[in-house]
């Protein structure tokens, strides 16, 4: 993975010092709330329901064991409070769909001390919030996936650097998210991003990017529009500069809900594309515009060299593997580009803890697994799990035993309980409804592994509000928290897709009737699943059946779960 240079380190420390100055002025009453808010947001500090929330950037999902240990220390020493319910004492982090980590209980007065601790391990919260270019996300299997055409990590790192405190683009109309994928399978949901980048090679074998613009969730779900099939990698920063400049100058600023680039792209259509191309041409014609030199790319690529091949496998272990091991190996172990290695998901979806949550002890545990089995490296996945990218095939058994002990071996990757969920109304000030109890109730309801495996591959996504942090639009089953008359209700959709080959072309799910009460939701999910099990053809997966059947049978089935809400027609 990328190792910080002296410049990177100085930069992050300078940022921490700058933030300390701003925080001190704020606490001294010299920097009023309204002026401090955008500054703290661009350092990852929200103010939430109970306390500030800190979002720490994990650039394109790569995390070292050392960094995870420091995050554990922060969870233990800073993210806690002494009063309140057991669930309100803190001491944990939450991995988000954008591969970041969030803390919920750090007092603002200690914020700059935490930024210093992060800087010690080359971490920060820069641009994890605010109306700027956010942390770049990518494929959790980047650099190791067998179906990869081009390793996206060096390009992600160049993008990380270029977007970091870009002076022109710090105050855009709205937040701006870029995702990069270099594999045939899109594991980064690129079509749902403000800019989705797909690395590939042209007929001549040259590397470039297919660029799509204007995807996004929220109250107007939009799939990104392809604007260029092949931007040579040397020119990608220039092309992105053109896009973001057009957006900065022309994106709407009069209405918060119409400020994302997707609205501009939709309203202007071809005129938007023309404006970008014209700005791109003007930049390329300028002698001051420099493409990325080959040597620069190579220098960054040096950081991503594969480890040496492991020694040849010893003889296969004697005896039949335990069924529990086989099940885990089927779901949680993934093929690898390099012979002798496997990638292994550490499931963060288990009973008793919200999806994506890790306690301080578990962070230490995962760090120890990474040190012992994966060259000290981890990945954060878009699905809110951790992944060990460099596990030797002959150590899978030992890893399984250790991961089981640490509570990371639930064999449910890709299954119903491997759900995506935002923190919801328990923690988030924006949420209309809680996500965590819904996730917990569904996890409890579907605790039978045989049943889960029979149901098979399925994406269940839960968002506590229309901001869509839990990506409900792209869930094969999507659950959205809505507020009606001050109480919590849930809208359920089926057949949404993130754009992966399992899910099909990216599309928002279809609503299956008026909102449900919280206590109806697990029954609704059960009724939807029962409909699938009854109607499926041999080998047909949920998403394929849902698309074939359309929403109607699910709508009828969900009606049987209604107790307090009115039937859908």
């Amino acid at each position: 993975m990328y190792r910080y240079t002296d410049l990177d380190r100085r930069f992050v420390r300078a940022r921490a010092a700058q933030f300390r100055d701003q925080l001190q002025r704020h606490l001294a009453g010299e920097l009023p709330d309204d002026d401090f808010r955008p500054l703290r947001l661009q350092n990852g500090w929200y103010v939430q329901r109970h306390a500030p929330m800190l979002r720490v950037a994990v650039p394109y999902g790569e995390l070292s064991a050392r960094q995870l240990r420091q995050l554990a220390r922060i969870a233990r020493e800073f993210d806690h409070q002494d009063a309140g319910l057991a669930s309100e004492r803190g001491g944990f982090g939450h991995f988000s769909t954008r591969q970041n980590l969030q803390f919920n209980w750090i007092p603002l007065a200690r914020a700059s001390d935490v930024m210093d601790l992060l800087a010690e391990v080359d971490m920060h919260g820069i641009q994890t919030s605010g109306n700027c270019i956010r942390n770049i996300t990518s494929d959790a299997l980047a650099g190791i996936a067998p179906d990869e055409e081009v390793d996206p990590r060096p390009y992600c790192e160049i993008l990380r650097q270029w977007t970091t405190l870009h002076p022109e683009f710090a105050f855009l109309p709205r937040k701006f998210k870029i995702a990069v994928s270099g594999a045939r399978e899109d594991r980064a949901a690129t079509a749902w991003h403000d800019i989705g980048l797909r690395l590939h090679r042209n007929a001549a074998g040259e590397v470039g990017f297919a660029v799509a613009v204007g995807g996004g969730m929220g109250r107007t779900p939009v799939i990104a529009t392809p604007v260029n099939d092949f931007v040579p990698w040397q020119q990608i920063l220039v092309f992105i500069e053109a896009i973001v400049r057009v957006y900065n100058l022309h994106g709407r600023r009069d209405n918060l809900y119409k400020a994302r680039i997707k609205i501009l792209v939709k309203a202007e259509g071809q005129r938007f594309v023309d404006a970008v191309n014209s700005e791109f041409a003007a930049l390329l014609a300028d002698p001051d515009t420099a493409p990325i030199p080959q040597a620069a790319l190579e220098r960054v690529q040096q950081h991503f060299q594969p480890p040496p091949a492991p020694p040849p496998l010893a003889a296969a272990p004697v005896g039949t593997p335990l069924p529990a091991y086989t099940r885990w190996a089927d779901r949680n172990v993934h093929a690898h580009r390099l012979a002798g290695y496997r990638a292994v998901t550490l499931s963060l979806k288990r009973a008793g803890l919200p999806p994506g949550d890790v306690t301080a002890d578990q962070m230490e545990g995962a760090a120890a697994l990474a040190e012992r089995f994966s060259l000290g490296e981890l990945r954060v996945s878009h699905d809110q799990n951790l992944l060990l990218p460099w596990v030797r095939e002959d150590e899978l058994r030992a890893l399984w035993l250790a991961a089981r002990e640490g509570g990371f071996a639930t064999p449910n990757i890709g299954l119903l309980t491997d759900m995506i969920a935002c923190p919801g109304g328990d923690l988030c000030a924006l949420a209309n409804a809680r996500s965590i109890p819904i996730a917990a109730a569904i996890t409890e309801r579907f605790d039978d592994l045989d049943e889960l495996h029979d149901i098979g591959d399925i994406d269940l996504h839960i968002s506590g509000c229309i901001n869509s942090c839990g990506h409900h639009h792209s869930g094969h089953i999507g659950i959205l928290g809505v507020d009606k008359d001050g109480s919590e209700w849930y809208q359920v959709t089926v057949a949404g897709a993130d754009g992966s080959s399992l899910s099909g072309a990216a599309v928002a799910g279809k609503v299956i009737g008026p909102s449900f009460a919280a206590d109806e939701v697990p029954d609704v999910v059960e009724a939807v699943i029962a409909t699938y099990l009854r109607e499926r053809r041999p080998g047909e997966r949920f998403i394929d059946a849902a698309r074939r059947l359309g929403p109607l049978p699910f709508r009828h089935a969900a009606n049987t779960a209604r107790r307090s809400t009115a039937l859908a027609a």
Partner: protein, 129 residues
């Protein structure tokens, strides 16, 4: 133009300053820009970032050598961004501390992007180092 030119704190706009709104097309008004020694770009709200792009276009595309002044709601903490987009003059909002503004300019000794008009590629000063 040097990448990190000095920043002048102004109480009033100099005479013969062309004042542009952040909805104005700076490229379309190139002729007017050429006739003025200074251009002031307005920040109606400090979180409205359009004038940063306008300044980059003035310096980069139009090669404007005169002053580029930030006016309107200009806060001390904007100073590093303003300077790096090519502004070399500011009218701070009345309540702002000059000391905090000067301090704000001192935190970073290097960046990942070039300033407009700087011919070194970002990869010489940033990515490659």
């Amino acid at each position: 133009m040097k990448p990190e030119q000095s920043m002048e704190f102004l109480n009033a706009l100099p005479a013969d300053t062309l004042l542009l709104d952040n909805t104005d097309d700076v490229i379309g008004r190139a002729d007017e820009v050429r006739r003025h020694v200074a251009v002031a770009l307005r920040f109606p709200k400090w979180t409205d970032g359009r004038a940063y792009s306008q300044a980059v276009l003035l310096r980069g595309r139009l090669r404007h050598r005169g002053r580029v002044i930030a006016t309107g709601e200009v806060l001390a903490d904007m100073l590093p961004l303003l300077r790096r987009c090519g502004f070399d003059g500011v009218q701070l909002r009345a309540d702002q501390s000059l000391e905090a503004a000067q301090r704000a300019l001192g935190y970073f000794d290097s960046h990942y992007q070039t300033a407009p008009g700087d011919r070194r590629s970002i990869h010489e000063i940033g990515v490659t180092r």
